[in-house]
Point group: C2
Chain length 503, copies 2
């Protein structure tokens, strides 16, 4: 008898297998970070890897000199420099070696306030042990620092005991899905287009995704009428709709919701008794004039809705913002409006994995409480922060203009987040050509774009879109000095593409 492993593709948990579509996107978002030893899904990036190798082995064998990865919100992989203070303070804090902190050399290497902050953190850690497991929810000190920052941001109180520090926001999202989903009868409302973590997590936990479509023609607006239609439809088919996911600022769509709109969404959740899952990881990435981030919790409180009127879970992360510390895996969720006995269940899930990494916990507390006026680091910090945000705003504007100049392409501005999601109005003959090679039309376009220019984007299919419409997601993260060349390459490619397929 030939060898048959006890674990085969035939007997893997079918829930895992069925997330392939959702995950293929995440996978190919990731492949770019480093070489992948074996084939993974995500044709576009797999091909980008091949071409990158070709550029090394046979320079100038391709019509471009480098691959430009515009497919993932991973700023430091595209050269963004970390904010000095956060690295200094967290590095020193992690080096829990008091003798080091005392040394003159340390003062020559690190700013005084970074060292002071590190001391403060270390003194607050039980036994000064950064190498010990922390409380399952995270270090009490870090949670108090973050709660204080939330209270300052919103003007309403926040409590350390409502915070659960996690290895990035993704883990927190899974924890909530685990609590909410018992069977395929449990449904979670989710925007389309969406960040595929949500569809993947719902599939993994065996629940039903209840889609609601963002209105592209209204700047990817979230319309309550659409929510009402979709929840009725889902309930009509026997789904117990339990929660609503809102991503604000939007990913991949980049819209920043107006306070008016947020109030309607909150009222909808209250009326329909839905848990509001607020993905607010891009809260510090706002670019549009006159736009401002307001947390759902703040808006709810401003409506007079308290702990006993609405249940909100807010997710945040060190991976985004102007700091973009993706590799540090820090994040949290703030859980309000649920009873103590439910929080004990959340605590229990957190406890199974003991705790999140201390480095990420500390970094989350640092980005929540950056240097203040008068601190030695303050001026550098402000310069670094404002430099990054201003540059991102310029890049977002430049790239959107570039897309909007293209024949048959319409692109909303990125009011926030890190992405543009332009719509491609492709000629009939292009759709036929894609179908002929059994590719989604947006994948066909992205593949052609890569082959001609080395620019890597994600086909809209991976995020979901109104059937019959085609999009690509392109990050605004390539270095600013490379942006004009990128747009030129994009433009000439698109022109040739349209010339080839124009009806």
């Amino acid at each position: 008898m030939t060898w048959l492993s006890p674990l085969t593709i035939g007997n893997v948990n079918p829930k895992v297998k069925s997330i392939v579509d959702a995950c293929s996107l995440i996978e190919f978002s990731l492949v770019q970070v480093t070489k992948c030893e074996y084939a993974v899904r995500g044709e576009i990036v797999m091909r980008a890897q091949l071409l990158e190798q070709e550029l090394i082995t046979k320079p100038s064998s391709l019509p471009f000199e480098e691959i430009i990865y515009c497919n993932i919100g991973n700023p430091q992989s595209l050269g963004q420099v970390p904010i000095t203070f956060f690295r200094e303070a967290s590095v020193v804090a992690l080096c829990d070696n008091p003798s080091l902190l005392d040394k003159a050399e340390t003062h020559a290497l690190f700013s005084a306030d970074a060292i002071a902050r590190a001391w403060k953190i270390i003194d607050k850690i039980p036994g000064k042990a950064t190498g010990a497991y922390s409380h399952s929810q995270g270090l009490q000190y870090c949670r108090e620092e973050i709660a204080a920052a939330i209270a300052r941001r919103d003007g309403y109180p926040a409590k350390a005991e409502d915070l659960y520090l996690t290895d990035g926001a993704s883990v927190a999202v899974h924890m909530m899905m685990q609590l909410l989903i018992s069977s395929e009868k449990d449904g979670i409302m989710c925007p389309i287009p969406q960040y595929p973590l949500y569809s993947a997590s719902m599939t993994l936990h065996g629940g039903s995704l209840v889609p609601y479509y963002l209105n592209e023609s209204a700047g990817w607006g979230l319309e309550v009428q659409e929510l009402q239609q979709q929840i009725q439809k889902a309930r009509g088919s026997g789904i117990n709709v339990r929660a609503l996911v809102v991503i604000n600022p939007g990913n991949p769509t980049g819209q920043v919701l107006s306070e008016e709109n947020q109030k309607k969404i909150i009222q909808f959740c209250k009326d329909e008794r839905l848990l509001l899952l607020a993905d607010e990881v891009y809260q510090e990435n706002i670019y549009a004039e006159g736009k401002k981030f307001q947390s759902f919790k703040k808006v709810a409180r401003s409506m007079g809705l308290g702990e006993n009127d609405l249940s909100i879970v807010s997710f945040h992360s060190v991976s985004k913002g102007y700091y973009g510390e993706c590799g540090r895996r820090g994040g949290y969720m703030e859980v309000t409006g649920v009873d103590k006995d439910v929080k004990e269940q959340i605590y229990k899930i957190a406890s199974v994995n003991l705790c999140s990494n201390i480095s990420g916990q500390i970094l989350m507390s640092l980005v929540s409480n950056p240097p203040k006026a008068g601190d030695e680091s303050y001026e550098d910090y402000v310069r670094e922060r404002d430099g990054i945000l201003a540059s991102l705003a310029r890049r977002a504007k430049l790239l959107a203009e570039g897309f909007n100049k293209l024949e048959g392409v319409s692109c909303n501005q990125a009011e926030g987040a890190m992405y543009l999601f332009p719509r491609l109005h492709l000629p009939e003959r292009a759709l036929k050509a894609a179908a002929a090679v059994s590719m989604a039309a947006d994948t066909f376009y992205a593949r052609r774009l890569l082959d001609a220019t080395g620019i890597v984007v994600v086909p809209g299919s991976g995020f979901g879109q109104v059937p019959g419409t085609w999009h690509i997601r392109c990050t605004i993260l390539p270095a600013e000095e490379k942006m004009p060349a990128l747009i030129t390459r994009l433009t000439s490619f698109h022109q040739r593409f349209m010339d080839e397929f124009r009806d």
Copy 2:
């Protein structure tokens, strides 16, 4: 109508609720690390917290001066000092600021080989970006370093593409459970007593735990006859038994399996077509004379069994060993003997959370490749490592002797790991007294022990034990200088307890 949150204890996923027993143990293992703002399960440690507060507010109000936490393998929380080199190299590496690495002050603060290692790591990270997401399986360089270390350890090849770096080993265990368990018909064989992560994860994923009992009278030996009986019993009741969990060295039991025993277990898995899940996180914690850790993969290869004969997943972590870096959340699993298409499914699960924390990845590569003879750090490293391991061995012996001198207590030696699991032969009247307050007898004993001495141990009930037998788990981690006093307090308490309840 009064407020009813959309998320209540009544509509939480029942799988989450049902892991309370398994998790209460993990929870109270954790509560000790820092104060807990709201009631959590785990009566013993909740009470320890109260008493600790009392000692602060009303000094000398209790018959002891301090609480000694012997309930969790969290060495640095009990004062174990981190290994200098690992902290230096990982700290410098995380401070991805080349100018810092160049500075003279840095050389005054860190050893030359730590700085060199940090440079090596940074140069191998794509874009030198430690703040970027890595490949979902972990940085290629770290996986190559770890694979090389496994190959040196075993004398058989290991491949970077078989490694999945995770935020601690717990995450890797969950990933495998997620792959293996589709319904309650899927069963996983698990030792009793066990580390409750396994029961918790199986419950969370809705599978069935198929218990097999370790033989206490044979030094917690693992007997294949018992495996055979239990698998037949499970199959008889319609369970599809898919995998066997072995914890070696054992937790909470501390036994180190003989090569002979390992061969029988391997043959059993091969014959019964079970995936072997080898928890080998204590592989560097061996204390017994003549005992040696051998990985299941090494033993299988030595039997001539290759990739196409047996499927093994080996789990390891930076939390244990002599380094005990629990708070850094580094770990990995090595997956061998499964097809590429299954590995793609594992990759996909890993991809949903993007990647594990880079700090933990780097630390895992460092503990796998410590300083070598000739390196500047080598002598300090050896002194620190051997000092910790020798002290743990002395403490394990001392504490076991202490337990074995107690009336009605029998305790196997800790051949490895960090725990003793002594059996309590309690008088009938003690059992009655426990029943009268509806407590498990071992919880009753642990509670009395805490109140009288401040020593915190975990009742055996939390790990599972042969019905009608009673145990406690006690770590060997309290500082060596405190050990004699601890044993004296333990002894006089036990004497008084027996005097009170002796039949």
